[in-house]
């Protein structure tokens, strides 16, 4: 059983990292007042671009950069719809979701199901002296390490810097921020694009570290789960670490159960993350304190001369 637990614990960070990256990216968006429901599609674009770059002979670094570039490109479209043209954000997000997933399928068609050299652990030897399970947890690839550092950085920027103050102000009360001299549109576009870049990293993590292959539809709802995790972590990237670990743990247990030979229907097991999402959202509804952490101006387009 020790082996089972060690396997599980060791797999958790890798499964948690895409959730954590995606949630962090979405929190950057939402704290600036923009709800991006296109996360799933943007992650798919990141994942497929990384694989295409790898199969085309680029290095790992180039593959990650490709993933970011592709994600930012499609996010730019979202920013145009939702921020510049001030369309309904929910609708714009759904459009980007469908477009991103569809486009990734088309682009990845001739690259599907071809294994790639994965992004592996950095330095296994350093952790040799530690207990086996602890070594398994700590010994990870660079992208996973980054996934756990980024939320702390983002938290610091949001809560402790002038830039973060302006970003939060835009999300809480755009007209007031405008009156205070903040360029609302530039701030929102900046937040959306940074968030999109991080979503691209989340996609790259899925294909480069997780599956190590491109399969059409492989993001399989993780983008949507991340949207839910934003609420669960109450728009705080530090809480997002805990939320992502929880979901990573649920997801990491699936292959272990499947390979253990337990006689449980496979689809029932694969449903676990979604059941967990419902439970967690329900729980965050029950435990709600009187003050909601949700940014007040979330998903409300800003137009200066509008009276409201």
């Amino acid at each position: 059983m020790n082996g089972f637990l060690a396997d599980w614990a060791g797999a958790v960070p890798v499964f948690a990292a895409p959730f954590l990256l995606a949630t962090t990216g979405l929190i950057i968006n939402e704290r600036a007042g923009v709800m991006n429901l296109g996360a799933e599609g943007i992650m798919a674009m990141g994942a497929v671009s990384a694989v295409i770059a790898m199969l085309s002979g680029s290095g790992l670094v180039a593959a990650i950069l490709c993933a970011c570039a592709a994600a930012v490109a499609i996010t730019l479209l979202f920013a145009l719809l939702a921020v510049v043209l001030r369309l309904e954000q929910v609708l714009s997000g759904l459009v980007i979701f469908a477009f991103g997933v569809g486009l990734s399928g088309v682009l990845g068609d001739s690259y599907a199901n071809q294994p790639i050299k994965a992004l592996g652990p950095v330095a296994p030897r350093i952790f040799a002296g530690l207990p086996h399970w602890l070594g398994r947890i700590l010994d990870q690839d660079p992208l996973t390490y980054f996934a756990f550092v980024l939320p702390v950085l983002v938290w610091w920027v949001l809560e402790r810097t002038e830039l973060g103050l302006r970003l939060r102000a835009v999300g809480e009360d755009a007209p007031a921020a405008d009156a205070a001299g903040v360029n609302v549109m530039r701030m929102r576009i900046g937040a959306v694009l940074s968030g999109g870049l991080v979503l691209g990293l989340a996609g790259a993590h899925l294909s480069l570290v997780g599956s190590q292959v491109w399969v059409n539809g492989m993001v399989s709802g993780r983008g949507w789960i991340a949207v839910a995790l934003v609420t669960f972590s109450r728009w705080n990237t530090l809480r997002a670490i805990g939320a992502a670990l929880l979901f990573g743990a649920v997801q990491a247990v699936i292959p272990l159960i499947l390979s253990s030979g337990l006689n449980v229907p496979i689809y029932l097991i694969q449903m676990l993350p979604y059941v967990a999402t419902i439970v967690v959202l329900g729980a965050s509804g029950i435990g709600r304190t009187s003050l909601s952490a949700q940014p007040e101006d979330l998903a409300r387009p800003f137009l200066r001369e509008e009276r409201r």
Binding site: L165, E172, D173, A177, A180, G181, N183
Partner: protein, 516 residues
């Protein structure tokens, strides 16, 4: 050259260097609604310049253009002699223009200090939180404000929020201050202090533009006065001591005003509404009601006086059924009131909330739709399942002419109305059909003289028809003018109601300040 001619010459040809703001022939339309139709304004350094006008006269629109919130369609705007068409508020701030809006532009969930850093940080060159703290403390001390820097803005009182706005504008280096009805939201003593502050800021060499529709504010504080009516300037920068209140009132309104005052409609014998030891829970921002008992008779206006934030909104919400009491009973015509607001409405209860757009109107729906909504929800007066635009428009046109709603047609969105016209729209809707109990909260708040009189006359007329009117008001003058009996709400407790003849301003003032 005679002395008089000399003076006239000085008045017309001021040296350019003394002019802070010059606006001429400014036009602005929102869709089909014309807000400004050639407005002029000249303000010099060191003066308090009152900008007077009715609701919807275009005062706020003109100032929003000066402060960069709206773009002008046409006209000249100059600041300190330089052409200035600010595309954005931050461009106006950089040019030294600071506007204190009627609805404060503060980020509620942030703290006081965060709001100040947000607005002035880059310009004031604060390198750290401490630098901002020192600057804030210095300015606050200078102005005599005491405000906790780490308090969340949405947990401050209205007058404290206003002080934060003033700190924000001054720390941002504003030389031209626009105050949009600063006294409208304040209690009497606070209002006087605010006017003194405006005076002091002007004496320091700044230019202060005071938007108001209180004639009293003009005579108390202003050096010169500009009056606007229907988007145009009708009096341009007259010395305030040379014009009488009557002249100003006539210029503002453009016609005669009939202000009907207290009818002596005595209370009927029947009890319309009764509260028995009503208490509510105190949530985060709310004042809990504590054992409130009152009896409202048919045909009387029962005034509830008191300073804002002592449970007024909570009382209104409890009576109309939006807030569940923890103890006590509400009786409508002697029967326990239903738990559902719609059922209470059917039982003859109507209400006019203080915040016209939160509980009163649907801002993004048209006037016709706003007027149709309660007619649809109730079985009375019209039982309808099919709604046609023609039906809604027809009803709306009647209401618009009966209630003299200006600034919009049946198809205008309600949020485009000015405060006074929005209030008339609510009255038009609530007064439709038969009703027997009316609860109003600050019915004339923020309205100009004529609109206030129109609204108050409607209340008197309703009482004369036998409706029991519960008037919750933060304006003591209004309570004294309209009520037949009066009680005072203080810290969620209500004093015993007394006939208006048996009390006076001093006694009520004591109750308001000290509680029962």
């Amino acid at each position: 050259m005679s002395a008089a001619a000399e003076a006239r010459r000085a008045e017309t040809a001021r040296p350019a260097s003394t002019i802070a703001v010059r606006m001429a022939g400014v036009r602005k339309a929102f869709g089909e609604r014309i807000a400004l139709d050639g407005a002029d304004l000249t303000v010099v350094w060191g003066e308090v310049h009152a900008l007077l006008g009715e609701n919807g006269a275009g005062k706020s629109s003109l100032m929003n253009i000066l402060a960069g919130f709206y773009g002008a369609d046409d006209g000249v705007v100059e600041v300190a002699g330089q052409p200035a068409a600010f595309a954005e508020p931050r461009a106006a701030s950089a040019a030294g223009i600071g506007m204190i809006h009627q609805h404060f532009k503060l980020v509620g969930p942030l703290t006081v200090l965060e709001n100040l850093r947000l607005a002035c940080g880059p310009r004031a060159g604060w390198r750290s939180r401490d630098a901002a703290l020192v600057a804030m403390a210095g300015m606050a001390k200078d102005l005599g404000f005491t405000i906790k820097p780490d308090a969340r803005v949405d947990q401050l009182s209205v007058s404290e929020q206003q002080k934060v706005e003033i700190l924000k504008v001054l720390l941002g280096g504003a030389r031209i201050l626009i105050m949009d009805e600063p006294t409208a939201v304040l209690a009497e003593s606070e209002a006087a202090a605010m006017l003194q502050l405006a005076r002091r800021l002007a004496d320091d060499g700044r230019a202060v533009i005071l938007i108001t529709h209180k004639l009293r504010d003009v005579s108390a504080t202003a050096d010169r006065v500009t009056v606007m009516r229907a988007g145009r300037t009708v009096i341009a920068g007259a010395p305030a001591r040379d014009v009488t209140s009557a002249e100003l009132a006539r210029a503002m309104v453009g016609g005669e005003t009939d202000i009907l005052r207290r009818g002596t409609a005595g209370p009927g014998e029947t009890v319309a509404l009764e509260l028995r030891a009503l208490s509510t829970a105190g949530a985060e921002h709310d004042v809990p009601l504590r054992e409130i008992s009152l009896t409202l008779h048919s045909g009387e206006i029962l005034g509830i006086a008191g300073l804002g934030g002592n449970g007024q909104s909570e009382l209104l919400e409890a009576i109309i059924g939006l807030r569940t009491p923890t103890h006590g009973d509400i009786l409508l015509h002697g029967e326990p009131a239903s738990a559902f607001p719609a059922a209470r409405r059917e039982h003859g209860l109507r209400f006019v909330p203080a915040d016209r757009f939160r509980l009163g109107l649907f801002g993004s729906l048209t006037l016709a739709e706003n007027l149709a909504v309660p007619a649809l929800s109730g079985r009375q007066p019209e039982r309808r399942y099919w709604v046609t635009r023609a039906w809604m428009r027809g009803r709306a046109r009647r209401s618009i002419s009966d209630y003299e709603i200006a600034g919009g047609t049946a198809d205008t969105q309600a949020r485009l109305l000015s405060g006074g016209n929005a209030q008339k729209l609510i009255l038009a809707r609530e007064f439709e059909g038969a009703f027997s109990v009316l609860v109003v909260h600050s019915p004339a708040r923020g309205l100009d003289v004529r609109a206030a009189a129109a609204v108050q006359n409607r209340l008197l007329a309703a009482a004369a028809r036998g409706v029991g009117v519960l008037m919750i008001s933060e304006d003591l003058d209004e309570v004294l003018a309209l009520s037949s009996r009066v009680a005072v709400l203080s810290h969620g407790r209500l004093s015993a109601a007394v006939a208006i003849e048996q009390t006076d301003r001093a006694e009520l003032g004591r109750l308001i300040l000290e509680g029962a």
